[in-house]
Structure formats: C-alpha cells, structure tokens
Amino acid sequence: MFESLSAKLSGTFDRLRGRGALTEADVTEALREVRLALLDADVALPVVRDFTAKVRERALGTEVLDSVSPGQQVVKIVHDVMIEQLGGAGAVPLNLQAAAPIPFLMVGLQGSGKTTTAGKLALRFRERLRRRVLLASLDTQRPAAQLQLAQLAVQAGVSSLPIVAGQTPVEIARRAMDTGRREGFDIVILDTAGRLSINEALMEEVRAIRAETSPVETLLVVDAMTGQDAVNTAKAFNDALGVTGIVLTRMDGDMRGGAALSMRSVTGAPIKLTGSGEKIDALEDFHPERVAGRILGMGDIVGLVEKASETIDEAEAEKLARKMAKGAFDLEDYASQLKQITKMGSLSSILGMLPGIGKMKQQIEDANLDKTMIRRQVAIIGSMTPKERRAPDIIKASRKKRIASGSGTSVQEVNKLLKTYDDMATMMKRMNKLGQKGLMRHGLGALMPKGMGRPGRPF
C-alpha cells in the first residue's frame, strides 16, 4: 500500500545522487516526494507546507549547489530542519520551579493515555527525584477512571486522593491542592477526563480547573498514531489552556509518528516525554533527533542500542564483538546471535530501528519471515557437531543429510543456512573495514552483500 517514508526518500535521493549540482527543478522534484512521504507519515498538511518551504529555501542556497554530493546534502538539510522543527537537539526537562505542592495538569482526548502517563510520571518523580507525589483523578466521566488512577498510584508507590463520590472536577482539584498543602506533598498530578476539543462545556470545565490550581505544567497527552487531526486538537487545547508541554504516547508502536512534528509546530510547546509501553516505568525523555530519524525512516539507532542493551547478555555480546573483530565468526556465534534476536522482540520491529533498511524490511515482511524461521535455523545449528559449527566448510552431502534429519528440516534448508552464514561472515569483514563511524554514516545498506534484498534471508 503505502511505501514507507524511508523507501520514498531513498528513492528520491537515489535519483539526486550521481548528478552534479542541484537545479531548482531537482529540488522541486525531491520536495514533491518529501511532501508525499511526510503526508503518509501523518504529518499534517499545513505543517508539511511549512516544512518543505524551509527545506527549499535552504536547499536552493549555496550549501547544496556548491556541494560535491548533493543527494546527501539534501538528506542532511531535511534531517536538520526536522530536528529544528521538533525542538532542536536534546530533551526539554519538566518545569519544577514552583513552591510545593507543584501542580501538574494532564489534558487530552479520550484514550490518549493520560491516566497511564500520570501514573508513570508519579513513579518517575518518586524514583528519580525522591519527591512525594499525590495523584488525583478529576475524571468523573469515564466509568472506573478514578479507580484506575488509584490502582496505578499503588503500582507507582505514591499516594492518591481518596475518591469522594459526587464531587465535580473543580471540587476535586481544590481538594487535591488542599490535601497537597496540608499533608506536605511536593507534587500534585491532576488527571482530567478525556475531552474533545470541540466540546465547549468540557473545555470550559478544564479552564476552570486550570484557573483554580495554576499548574506549573499543563501537559497535553497525545497518541503518536494520530492523523491529520493532530493540528486541530493541539491548536484547540493550546488556545484554550496554554499547553506547556506535550507527551507523546504509544511510541512503541510502528507508526512513523508524524503527529509529533504537527503538534510541536502548531503549539510551539516542546514535546517533553514519550510513553513507550504499558509498564509503569515506560516513560522516556523526548529526543528530537531520534524521532526525526524515525519520521524520516533513518532509523532509531540509539533506541535500538538501548533496547539491545536491555535484553542482550553483555558478556555474550562482547565475546561476539571480539570474535567479529578477528573475523572468526562461526556458526556457534551465529546461533547465539539468533537466540539474542528472538529475545529482543519481533524481527520487523527491530529492523524498523535500523537505518537504510526500509526497503528490505518490506521484502522481509513479504517473505513472511518470523521467529519460526529463526527457531528452525537454531535447530539446524543445534544438530551439528561442535566441530562442524567451528568449521562449516567440512559439511558436505552426507553431513547435510544427517543434520537435516536431526533438525527435522531439509537439505535445502541446511544449504540456505550455510549460504546465509557465508553472507554474514562476509558482512562481518565489511563491517570491520567500515568501522563504527562508517556504519552510522552509510547505514546497513553498506553492509549488505549483493542481492541481499532477496526474500527469505534474515540478514
């Protein structure tokens, strides 16, 4: 259906590569693709217009025309503008410059993740800053919403405001602040009911809550998979309340997350945090450079490394790295690497984090590659003798037959595995030549043996 943004952009820039200087026509052509790609990544139309105008302005300057490699320059400009628009490099911290109890107000549409985020935020304040936090739910609309926050408070190890039936949200807010003052809380997080930006009565209510409590942060919680409506919602909430920060939730999904760019551009408010899972500690600082890479399909290298370091046995990884450096990568190592991968989650979600892999990811998905296949490969290697694993060259016809029947596979599959291993070994050698910096610059594409895009092979 829709080509991924990375596929689109690399297609466009492939065409730009190999030419000398950029003409205005080149830029126009490239920007048409950028525009489409951004729209398919759910960046809102008005924001796309602004964005492409900025890129054009910069691309038509001397930077590109005088450069040796125009394609790469355009990629860089697009990337730079993206980071700028997302708020520049680095994370913007939450504002805690106020007298205790510091009120935080959570607002947003229904189902955007306000309550879960409130719980995560409470845990973060308690654990990282050692603050005493009071959670208060002002959601009298959704059944059991107040109970949900109370249960999250228990999980986060913080207090929650006792539920009093029949109180209005403004009354609850007042009671929360009173309790906060009386009982010496450092921070009071006020979770509100989900509301539509066009519901005047409910927007008036949240304005009243804001006036009552003067929150130091009014955080707009938004779903990262939001489409074009992101601009309307962001604008309406910002106009009504003056949003001081944005929290993007569900960043653990596989959306490109163009809403991030829309929200940030429309409100001017920084994106401060991202939610990336259902567990109560899945709240992270927002890193514009990472999200820019994601929207542009350049991969979230840092995210991958972080995810990998959480799940991969470090000693194991180091041993592997040393072997790779020496070029002594055998089937034993391949098997252990395959096992690590299955631990990290679905293959395609990992591939999504890698740069330059958009096209290949699609092919791999088409080939229906999954963990079953990895498990089969591990089984094949498991049916080899230690000697065979160390020196796969000795595996000839009769050994192959034995291995195939031992692992419940076929000789063809054994052959395929050996071929894949060969490709891997070649890749390792290239990796060593390129070095760490080269990998970041050229992406995985530089590592691929020729014809690597063929389906049915894991790497």
Binding site: M1, F2, L36, L39, D40, A41, D42, A44, L45, L109, Q110, G111, S112, G113, G119, Q141, R142, P143, A144, A145, L147, Q148, L149, A150, Q151, L152, Q155, L196, S197, I198, D223, M225, T226, G227, Q228, D229, A230, N232, T233, A236, R250, D252, G253, D254, M255, R256, G258, A259, E278, G345, S346, S348, S349, K371
Partner: protein, 315 residues
C-alpha cells in the same frame, strides 16, 4: 429509538467533525472552474481528512476525467464528491447481525489501547438489551488497571451480566469459562472485552490468538465475529493495524469510534479500499445510545459537509 434524534446526533457528530473541511471546500469551490489548481486544492482537502495520499489521488483522478474544466458550484462538488466516496464505502456498510440460534453468538472485541473497546462493548450490550436479546459480557482485559470495574459499571447500566475474575486472571481461561456459562444459560450474545495491544507486539498478539484457541476447544466455530475497534483520529497507521489484526485473529468487521470529535475519519475510506472489511457501526459519544449503524452515503456526505446528510427517507 427516535429517528430524528438518531440522525440528528449522527449528523451533529459528523458535521462538527467536518466543519473545517467544509469551510475549506466552500472557499475553494465557490463558482470556480475545475482546473488543475482547483483539483490540487481539493486533493489536499481530502488528504487533510485522513484519506491518505493514494486514495485522495485516485478520487481526484476520477474527477479529472469526468469534470475537468467544468464550471462548478460548491454544492455540486460536495454532492459529486460524496457520491464518489460513498461508492467506495457502500460495499462495507454492513450491520453486525446476531445469529439468535447460536446461543451464544460470540463476539471478540480487539484493538490497540485507548480506542474505545470497553465503551463500545457497553454500547453494544445496551443495543442488544433494547432489542430483546440477552447479552453477556466478559472482562478479559485483565491487564489494565480498573478495566474490569469499568466494564462492571456498564453491566450495572445495561443490566447485562459481566463475567470477571480476580486481577491478573488468565484471559483465555476466563473466556473459556465465560463461554461455558453463556452456553449453559443460553445467552444470545457473548461480548468479550480484551486488553488493548499494539499490533506490533508479537507476544501480546499471540495471547489474543490463545484466547481464540482455548475457546475453540469447546466450540470450533467461535468466535463468530471478531470486531476491531478503531479510533477515528488514527492516521495512516490504521492500515497496518487492520492488516496485522486481520492476519492474526481474522477480524470480521470494524467499529469506528470518536467520530464526534474534530477527526474526520477519512481513513475509513482507505481501509474500505484496501481490505473491504465490513464497517458495522460508528461511535459518536460516550453515552450508551451513541453507537450508530454505519451508513455509507451519510458518512461520505458528512465527510465532505454536503447538505442532506439525513437519509431519513431511505433508511
């Protein structure tokens, strides 16, 4: 159900959601020649309704072939555009029909987090109670805090029984027991609420398959329907959502929620083209009565802000 109130609310919901779109349309097409620039602007209007670039381009291409260069009024454009879009939506406008002979007709409700599964189940239960059926609900979202209590409150509102276990209960086991009970008590419909899950979490998707597998030990024909609940504010990622859920749990139909907001729900058009899955109902509010049948022309008219989006006569 009062028809006036019914369509009034749907139209109110849809038209509110599309006011901006209509405003745009008015400025673009008041007494104007349908030239390239005009078509381009029209295409952008469709894109900003979340139809997606590909679908928007196709709709506009059809326009170009038939209407290029014509002098058109705003109203003509709205009508033609809504007809064009309704053509795509018409085949998927199919209500969810409960087979009373199944006792129970098992409906598994799935979707990503926060899109309105529990609320939709509450509304469905209300609809069934009103039409004289005996629904039963299962709180198989044993993960999210207070999800069980949320469904139980819907149980009190609709007076339909809610089957739940202690926190952390195995969802598949709970669904299995609920099915046994629904069979014994000859309930007409068994509505199973599941935990929200992102489609790219393979472990969670496997859990969903397990619920189905375990229930099938009792009756290989269940679930009879698998509803994917979809938030109208969702952008192009909805396509991937539907694709994966369909592959993993054989989704039989969609319910589109939160159409009372400023989101225009144009993604439904793209989904209809891509998958052709029935759209059973739309959600236009948080109250029990806010679930509506999906009507193609109505939806399309609402989308482009055409007048006469009240098909009372024809329905």
């Amino acid at each position: 159900m009062a028809l006036g109130g019914f369509f009034g609310r749907l139209k109110q919901g849809l038209s509110r959601s599309t006011q901006k779109f209509s405003d745009g349309l008015t400025t673009v097409f008041k007494k104007r020649r349908l030239d390239d620039a005009a078509l381009h602007e029209l295409e952008e209007l469709l894109i900003s309704a979340d139809l997606g670039t590909a679908v928007a381009a196709r709709v506009i291409d059809n326009f170009r072939r038939t209407r290029f260069g014509a002098e058109v009024t705003d109203e003509e454009i709205r009508t033609q555009l809504s007809t064009e879009i309704a053509k795509i939506l018409d085949p998927v406008a199919q209500p969810l029909v409960i087979d009373r002979t199944l006792k129970p007709h098992v409906v598994l409700v799935v979707g990503v987090n926060g899109n309105g599964k529990t609320t939709t189940i509450g509304k469905l239960a209300q609809t069934y109670v009103e039409s004289g059926l005996r629904p039963m609900m299962v709180a198989a979202d044993t993960f999210r805090a207070a999800a069980v209590e949320q469904l139980q409150i819907w149980g009190e509102r609709t007076r339909a029984p809610v089957i739940a276990g202690p926190p952390g209960t195995d969802a598949a086991g709970l669904a299995f027991d609920a099915l046994a009970r629904a069979r014994t008590e000859a309930a007409d419909v068994l509505l199973i609420d599941t935990a929200g899950r992102l489609h790219n979490k393979s472990v969670l998707m496997e859990e969903l398959r397990k619920i189905i597998r375990v229930m099938q030990k009792q009756d290989p024909a269940v679930p009879h329907s698998v509803l994917l609940v979809l938030d109208a504010t969702t952008g192009q990622n909805a396509i991937q959502q539907v694709r994966v859920f369909k592959e993993m749990v054989a989704v039989t139909g969609l319910v589109v929620t939160k159409l009372d907001g400023s989101a225009r729900g144009g993604i439904v058009v793209a989904l209809a083209e891509e998958f052709g899955l029935p759209v059973h109902a739309v959600g236009v509010g948080e109250q029990a009565g806010d679930l509506r049948p999906f009507n193609a022309l109505d939806y399309a008219r609402g989308l482009v802000g055409a007048d006469g989006g009240t098909p009372a006569a024809g329905d």
